[in-house]
């Protein structure tokens, strides 16, 4: 297969179009602008809609409308904009609508900075809206994975009627790599009998709604949704294990930080330290089993994050206090070096 050199932001956009997404609603923000710009150029050519909304709130509500109408719809933003979309994420979940959302993370809090960051882990995995719900979160670490998981995102969104977020960052969004653009055969259900497309007098009316005034009923609906989440945990949890078989120390990192960590693992191995890497690919559901399994074998974990340490909480939970968990971090848009990660590996082993 021929490969093309593409920026991460543009690769996601092209994959979405290839996946049949014809409705994109956006709002400008760095470092995700190339994604929306690509859509604005591409959508009119494929008979789709590119709409620059008046805000991120409006954009995600347009996604809600388009998703309710049964089409594949998507929006993208960066950290401050994703915060605004959290209302919509909750309504998407409450209405059981499929949607795809991209967060090209930048540093915060507040206006923060436009440099790459991983400080939205909590927002993506733990929150991002009120009420009992989850967003499925993919954390690709290469442009190829950005493409592959964009295809997967649309399928998973429709199969389980959930929102899937691609959690990337300014490094992955902006960098270029050769990528094979191959659309896999979709595994999503062909029909959306729940969509609001007009009854045409041929079926009972459909209602897309998240309001349940009866607490007894809302409890049932929420529990049923979490049964679907359990299915997602069973079927869709993904992580990459790199040299973990004989590892005495496991680095845990996702996205851009995992690329740096992998270099650090090689450097450690060259020094005779048996280091390995556990790379969560889905952040929700979190690959807790892989961590727990490793906890019985390794001496310690080092979590590498471009934040003050957020995923580390899930690693600690998964490791059940069996082994020490160290944090190697840079924040505010700073990126850790392989040497810094190596130092952290050596420290925790001491």
């Amino acid at each position: 297969m021929e490969k093309v050199l593409m920026k991460g932001n543009e690769a996601i956009a092209e994959a979405a179009v290839m996946a049949g997404c014809k409705h994109f609603f956006g709002y400008p923000i760095t470092p995700q602008n190339e994604l929306a710009a690509y859509m604005s150029q591409r959508m009119p050519r494929v008979g789709g809609t590119y709409l620059q909304a008046e805000s991120e709130i409006a954009a995600i509500n347009m996604v809600i409308g388009a998703a309710a109408a049964g089409v594949r719809a998507m929006t993208s933003s960066s950290s401050p904009g994703i915060a605004l979309k959290s209302e919509g994420l909750s309504y998407l979940a409450g209405c059981d609508l499929p949607a795809v959302l991209v967060n090209v993370q930048r540093a915060g809090p507040g206006l923060g900075g436009i440099q790459p960051s991983q400080a939205d882990y909590f927002m993506a995995v733990k929150g991002g809206g009120h009420g009992d719900f989850h967003t499925v979160v993919f954390a690709p670490n290469s442009i190829q994975e950005m493409v592959d998981y964009t295809f997967a995102a649309f399928d998973i969104a429709e199969k389980y009627r959930v929102t899937v977020m691609l959690l990337t960052d300014g490094i992955l969004g902006q960098m270029m790599e050769p990528v094979a653009l191959i659309a896999p055969e979709t595994k999503a259900p062909a029909e959306k009998p729940w969509a609001v497309t007009g009854t045409k007098g041929a079926r009972p009316k459909n209602i897309v709604n998240s309001l349940y005034l009866s607490p007894e009923l809302l409890e049932k609906v929420n529990i049923a949704r979490f049964e679907r989440y359990d299915e997602i945990k069973r079927n869709e949890t993904r992580c990459e294990l790199y040299k973990t078989d004989d590892a005495e120390i496991c680095v845990v990192a996702y996205g851009a930080a995992s690329r740096i960590s992998r270099n650090a693992v090689e450097m450690a191995r060259a020094k005779g330290i048996r280091a390995g890497l556990i790379r969560p690919i889905t952040l929700w559901p979190f690959p807790s089993d892989a961590i727990l399994e490793a906890a019985d074998r390794v001496k310690a974990f080092t979590v590498v994050e471009m934040s003050m340490g957020q995923m580390i909480q899930d690693v600690e939970l998964a490791a059940r206090c069996k082994k020490p968990v160290n944090l190697c971090f840079r924040t505010g848009g700073m990126v850790p070096s392989p040497e810094e990660v190596l130092k952290s590996i050596e420290e925790v082993l001491r």
């Binding site: 909304a53 008046e54 409308g65 089409v71 009854t199």
Partner: protein, 249 residues
Amino acid sequence: MKTVFQRPNALTDMPTSYCPGCTHGIIHRLVAETLDELELTGRTVGIAPVGCAVLAYNFFACDMVQSAHGRAPAVATGVKRANPDNIVFTYQGDGDLAAIGTAETVHAAARGENITIIFVNNAIYGMTGGQMAPTTMPGQVTQTSPYGRDTTTAGFPVHVCEMLASLQGTAYCERVAVDSVPNIRKAKAAIKKAFQNQVDGKGFSLVEVLSTCPTNWGLTPVKALDWLRDNMMPYYPLGVYKDRSAEEL
């Protein structure tokens, strides 16, 4: 026996949740009669707001979406862009449309989005128990303007039709009232035009309906109609504020 009056087919047989004497019911009926007469029910997707009309998804017989507070025009935009052959309308109160959802309203109009908005102005937040709304009039007493709306601290009401008429994207906006039979007839004609415009692809149409909230105004239904006539109609003059629907496309 000849039937001279019945429930429009575009309304379900679900009893509405509105207080006795509330004019939301009349406005529902006018929308439903329009859907019947233009034979649109099977093509239509309605967007319910957050407000007393939140349960409108149960009352209209067409496909419905329940949206977040103020976001109905954005949701309607998504539905319409997905399936342009659908007729898409929102039904929103003044808090929903002119406070939290101002941006969504103004920009749907500015884009000339080919949708229909039924805007129910009752000068108060009905559902939450009668707080000051963006359309509460100077001096009007509400739960959160207990001494009357003081414009030096609470500012002035939003005149939605006047504001939207200034936008190039607005095809049609008219303010009507449902206080009397002649005005109800005019309101019906305006609503019908707002839907016909969408069928004809004319673009953004909004009908502002001056409506009562006897419960939170603390008035009987009849006195509420008088209050609407005596206080709201002079402050919110009825009439057509913009009409490009006669223009050739």
